[in-house]
Symmetry: C2
Amino acid sequence: MKSNLGKRMTIINPASNYGTVTIVGVGLIGASLGLALKKAGVVTKVLGVGRSKENLDQALKMGAIDGVVDLVEATKQSDVIVLCVPVAQMRAAFEVMEPHLESRTMITDAGSTKGDVILAAKEVLGKKACQFVPAHPIAGGAQHGASAARADLFQGKQTIICPLQENSPEDTALITGFWESAGSAVKKIGVVQHDAIYAAVSHLPHILSYALMASVVNSEDADQKLGHVGAGFKDFTRIAASSPEMWRDICLGNRAAILKELDQYLLIVNHMRKLIAENDGAGLEKLFNKASKARQDLDASE
Amino acid sequence: MKSNLGKRMTIINPASNYGTVTIVGVGLIGASLGLALKKAGVVTKVLGVGRSKENLDQALKMGAIDGVVDLVEATKQSDVIVLCVPVAQMRAAFEVMEPHLESRTMITDAGSTKGDVILAAKEVLGKKACQFVPAHPIAGGAQHGASAARADLFQGKQTIICPLQENSPEDTALITGFWESAGSAVKKIGVVQHDAIYAAVSHLPHILSYALMASVVNSEDADQKLGHVGAGFKDFTRIAASSPEMWRDICLGNRAAILKELDQYLLIVNHMRKLIAENDGAGLEKLFNKASKARQDLDASE
């Protein structure tokens, strides 16, 4: 199954078996991936690497993983390694893996940002970077940890692949098939494009949502306000229940694209502020109309 | 049922009948109210006043109203009048009603802002302002118009009453019972408090949501971005599908409180921008933690 261009030996069985798969970071995404792969019957064994014994025990109990190892041991044993840790921990993971990484082993990830992860991979893995096919499964939710995992988390969802120049077509196809076997529809996008798109439609909304909760919580009459929230407020702030650690890393990892989107957003908000302060009803209605129509079109296009 | 303190004659039947009720503005809220009151069996007749023949015909067809009249005729005939028009139209409605307003008639409203509506009522109705008991049903959704109406729209939801100094306890109790018969749980809050609370938990989120849709739609790669939205973006922007006209009026009607909340919000967002630009992971995590915990507490308190 793997490319045999004189670069690496073919070890993994053809088509539907990825052999020994290690999941590094067995949280919502990692544990769900383990459940999905085992349910699809495409793995011989799933190993887990992580920081929290309690969480790993939970993952074992659920059958998301079959055993727990450290990352060095996992690197030696695995055919595929999936990095599901917060993006700021990817560099350290590559550093531990690199000396033990054999040519048969493929690596992929589940990071919400790609530019920073790819930079770390190229700097640390060097020539072995061709063994890393970057991915971003668009799945998950506000809950975190193995206890929230589901085998169908990726069903009907998209996984973005951002192949490196160094990746062979065969290796890209292998990792594409890997994510497809978990239930995803795979789509290829360039890394710069990926980071700009997700800055706008995912990273920025999370920041704005956190900011609204923080603003309400910090106000004098916070309790009163929180006692009168409706469906609109709850919809808007739902994503503020997400993992602070993960989102801290995303903000720093995709800093340039996020700041660009945030600055564009602030231009619009400040313009709205001006229209409100100046009593410009026609201006407000025009802006709201454009936004409202676009949001309705979004629902219609589903 | 009405106070008989020598001010007005008691005409309305005691307890469970509000007589002839007119709904001015037969949209989602107005038509739903008509359906709810009729289902509860607490009215003799429901009349509708509005701008759009098509919408009024729809309301008639659904049984939300029994007849259509103009506002002058409605004022003469009604025991209770409910103003369900956008808040910027309330003043004009009071102006049409005032000369024909008899002492037996109570008025209430469904406006999302209270300070501006109350000011208009006091200026236009003068001594008759005691016949107006301001209300704000916290119900509804992104859809608008009679065709979206439901008899159970207010079931289990709150209606805020902001009694005027001029309202007698008996009249406040009557209007409280009126909204309760539609299915609401009624709560009394002072008008300044109301406008501050709803600026924070309703008006500001709508503005921020409209701004995000506008920002994405205006960008160079808008189509790409809109092609990759996930559940988070959709949750965040759901309220941007709301009625632009209604939200224009709310922004202008509650301007002072909204600008206050918006400016506090912008302080937080600009602080987050600074943390991101300066790579301050610890600062970001601390802020996200506080917000995340508050959001989880909100779910837990339901």
